[in-house]
Symmetry: C2
Subunit: 203 residues, 2 copies
């Protein structure tokens, strides 16, 4: 959300408030159930007009949210890719990040996991086509080449692995699990990794 240069603060406060309010509402009620009036109120403004000084329209709010979330994710993935060697370590760090986000910034995780982007922003790239997720895909390709991951279609490995991870996160976000997401991290990681790892430990 901090894609702007660090101005003395105060200038872009309102824009930030609008984005945060919109994120919360979109994640909770969905894009189409959220009116500009809703966002106005949630952002503490008195008139929808205030929004038009920062964004061309409602659509532009969603676009900036989407880009900003994926930019930040992309930076995090870069950090992970830079510091780690093995595919297992890289994936583990990504899973850590996702579980942490689910607990600490659930709206962001909801935005990523629950909203159907192509329904809201048909002209934007689909999730899987964004830089961040292409890099994740490459980790699977690399893991297969290096022998850490079984020799299957990397697309499938990706789908199996994040099928387990994301569905667990979805349950946590929906509140069907009693503890916070982080409590399920170790066991879920093991499940997902052993699913695709070559030398799956039989425990």
């Amino acid at each position: 959300m901090d894609q702007e240069k660090d101005t003395p603060a105060g200038k872009h406060d309102t824009q930030e408030k609008i984005l945060l309010a919109a994120l919360r509402l979109f994640a909770e009620k969905g894009y189409f159930n959220t009116s500009l009036t809703d966002i106005t109120r949630a952002a503490g403004l008195k008139s929808p007009q205030g929004i038009y000084h920062h964004f061309a329209n409602k659509h532009a709010i969603a676009v900036m949210l989407y880009e900003s979330i994926l930019d930040n994710l992309n930076v995090s993935i870069d950090d992970i890719r830079r510091k780690q060697q093995s595919a297992a370590d890289q994936l583990r760090d990504i899973v850590d990040l996702f579980f942490r986000l689910a607990d600490e910034a659930p709206e962001i995780m909801r935005f990523l996991l629950l909203l159907r982007i192509e329904e809201i922003l048909p002209e934007q790239k689909k999730l899987a086509e964004t830089a961040a997720f292409i890099k994740i895909y490459k980790i699977f390709q690399y893991g297969i080449r290096s022998g850490e991951i079984r020799s299957i279609d990397p697309q499938l490995a990706n789908g199996y692995f994040f099928g387990v991870i994301n569905n667990t996160l979805r349950m946590a976000l929906d509140g069907v699990l009693d503890k916070k997401a982080d409590a399920y991290l170790p066991q879920t990681w093991l499940m997902a990794w052993n699913l695709i790892a070559k030398k799956s430990s039989c425990f």
Copy 2:
């Protein structure tokens, strides 16, 4: 979709056409991107007025679709539960059904997997609370009691298992996999089942 008694046919033809058109459009563009005019055209009617002879409003179309799909699913689950004994066999039959639906009636699978019901029909039961999915949940409870499935939270077992299954189906529906869903059934079933099975074969 055949929740009406088998009348001589002709009477409920229009209603059926409307439901099928709506299903297709909702699955493709989403509920909010679909106007009654869209449904009118797709159903081969000349005026939106025709719809109001069969449904109170747009909302009622979605409700009937949702109920009808889940009723049919519930019946199928009943059949499966009646004829099978082991949890593995029952789950295998359900997975077969889902993969078959993904290939033969993709709109139904899209409706179930992609649409966020609580965003469209907030007053309706969530998927997990419907009869069909409660019965599926009970298969996991049973499998754990009978020793087929590991001793973990049945909710988690359910989530892990269908995380793999549903994500594979999602990929197939999104067209990121080159073959039809059915081609991935055997391997995906094995993956998902071994993930939760007690005596996981190490292959």
